[in-house]
Amino acid sequence: MIPDALFFAVVDRGKAGALLHWAREKGVAGGTIFAGEGTNPSPILSFLGISEVHKEVLMLGVTQDLSQQLFTAMKDEFRMDKRYKGIAFVVPFRQWLPDAPPKGEGYDRAKQPPFVCLITIVDKGKGELLMEVARKAGARGGTIVHAHGAGVPQDIYFPLLIEPQKDMVFIVDSRVRTQPIQDAIYREMGLEEQNKGIVIALPVLRTIGLYQPRSAGNRGRK
């Protein structure tokens, strides 16, 4: 089967390896793991400067069938339906590989997905500020990944291409809820200016591990 969806799982650091191993036994061809950081909104921890939580992100190319199986397993074996056990979600994609018959329809853009994954890329160090902005706009969590841009030659002694360091922030929520978050990020992080960063929204078909504040109407703002 040709994979047609990207399965993402955000779990505690050190657990993604086991997850990948397990997924491969289920027939997933391969996967990629990278390190991320979650944030804990507790004011005490953030006063102490230790609000950071180490996470790992696992990315698997899967078929729709397989992703159903994975979700069941996330629930049964990795207890993701419980709070603070991590989240998983699926993004549809079109993988490009050579010499293949064209598949008539791509992903239907017009269909509105139930969830959205917001990816924001900003300069390093601004990820946490961004999370604060997002939280105020109703976000319930996010994962910061350290990344870097392409090397830029500069006028320095060593002939080095200095790679600008970036923070990449992933926020997943229902489509309705992400819209104000996206707007807030766009406005408050000053993204309309050039070279300040970008925010992208990707469609998400299914999630597990997301939580709703106890009373449904309340957005959980503090």
Partner: protein, 632 residues
Amino acid sequence: MSLLREKFSEVSRSLVPVVTLVLLLALTLVEVETDILVRFIAGSALLLVGLSIFLLGVDLAMNPIGENMATELATSKTAYKVAGLSFLLGFLVTVAEPDLLILGNQVEAASGKSISAMMMVYMVSMGVGVMISFGTFRLLSSRSYPVFMALAYGVIFVLAILVSEEFLAIAFDASGATTGALTTPFVLALTAGLSRIKGGKTAEEDSFGMVGVMSAGPILAVMLMSILTGQEHIQGEAELFLPDTGVLGPILHELPKVFMESLIALLPLSALFFIMNLAKFKVQKRELGRIIKGLLYTLLGLAIFLTGVYSGFMDMGQIIGRGIAEHHNWLLPILGFVMGMIVVLVEPAVHVLGQQIQDATGGRIPVKLIRITLSIGVGLAIAGSMLRIMIPEVKLWFFLLPGFAMAILLSFFSDPVFVGIAYDAGGVASGPMTATFVLAFAQGAAAMTPGANVLVDGFGVIAMVAMTPVLAIMILGAVFQRKILKGSKEEHAMLEEPAVTIQTGAALGYDCMMAVLNRGLSQEALDVARDAGAGGATIIHGRGSGGHDMKFLSFEMLKEKEIVVWLIDDRISGTIAKTLHEKLDLGGEGGGKVFLVPALAMGLKAPGKAAEMLRPEPAEGSVPPGENSAPA
């Protein structure tokens, strides 16, 4: 899991074996007074709390400070500034190291005042500064690391012929004293920062090796000093051993003293950072606040940790060493091996190095594997030291010369990342735990063994600990290298996958293109994509598997990967993906994949359009708690 809990469980996992072993010995083979036993347990508790807080502080403060300094170094416009600043950094982190002053005083006393303590401290600090300076130039100008280290140790070998065995031991001991609890984490952070800024294909191996470079500095400095002053022999006996009595007394006595020592050790570097922050870095307020908190944690943690070690572990080490040497002499090498193995895992720098391996290699190299190898190395070092104490004919250089010679030879056939880690491991392993607990154990054993010289044999222990981990990890790296070469051949045959092209949809906006590539290919991918019409991109560093299994012992090895993310007009994204696939040979050499995800909206230039596309539908309101699913 919160950060503090993570550190706490990491430290306790490494501490439990040590406590178990000591209690076992204290209850069976060795007679230990109750107050010392109780103090050991209290000391362990202090160690656990202190080390956890300390490691947290290193994360919060040392890493950003190291990174800022590294940026300053790498972006210098003149060579003088690079040389000056790197020398200053090396000098400042070393000069305030309390262990170094203690060693200086010992040498001053043992040499009959012909070498003063302060002269020793300054010489060693200058040695470190010079080596860090050379090391920085080496790294930034991409010269071969194995050759550099071979040259450094070549000089050491030549000088070693000219100095006496005592000074050989003191030289290595000085190197152990400088790679203390504070310096090693800082130098590791500095190196990580340098490699991150330099980037490119060698970023992974560039993240290691500076601790190894730095530890050559003191060795050279002390040997030169011995040759220049004509001082050859030292005499003297170690102080008479008198264990402290009571439980709380010694702890309360140590705490303020250790606190001041830690403060002094931390001060020069912090001062330099704050001055440079005012003048140059100007880090954001939030970040600065965190660095200050981190420095406080570092100070507090270090003071508590060292108090626990000094008051709880020193006497215990002596007593166990004496007890075993007196009644069960033959047990010494075996016990030394076990003790070296488990004690080294409590070293602060070992935890920091583990974290760095995790970060720099994207988790490709299992930290556990490095720890086990390091453990075995140190175990062998202590066992060898015990043999040396028991049999006076066995000289220190019997171990050091062939050990280092073999390590240097192997460094040319080893996986490059392992070479850096290996040279670092020597400095990392000889930290405060080895310098107190293990050393006290060895001194205790020497005191009860006829024919052994407490002072000389004691000094030699650190030298052994500085050598064996280097060799052990180098051997691991050589084995690893063979494995990888074999593994990549198998991989080629397996990457022939079925393939599909999917037509691009209607031109509604942009595609998010993600390419998962082998490490080092991202720059090429960026160039190819740019030529084909793509814009800028962001690169994440990770690890992954692509249908091939690579196992080493029972550890699963994943390949290092880079994930490159572009945002591309979806009318040309298919073509770009195709170009990438062909130009980079992703089916074969490149070992990668390209994914295209349609972006729903994005705030690149058209906020109005982005907002429009995401208007909520009135029917959709709440999300059911727990598993959220919807028909695809």
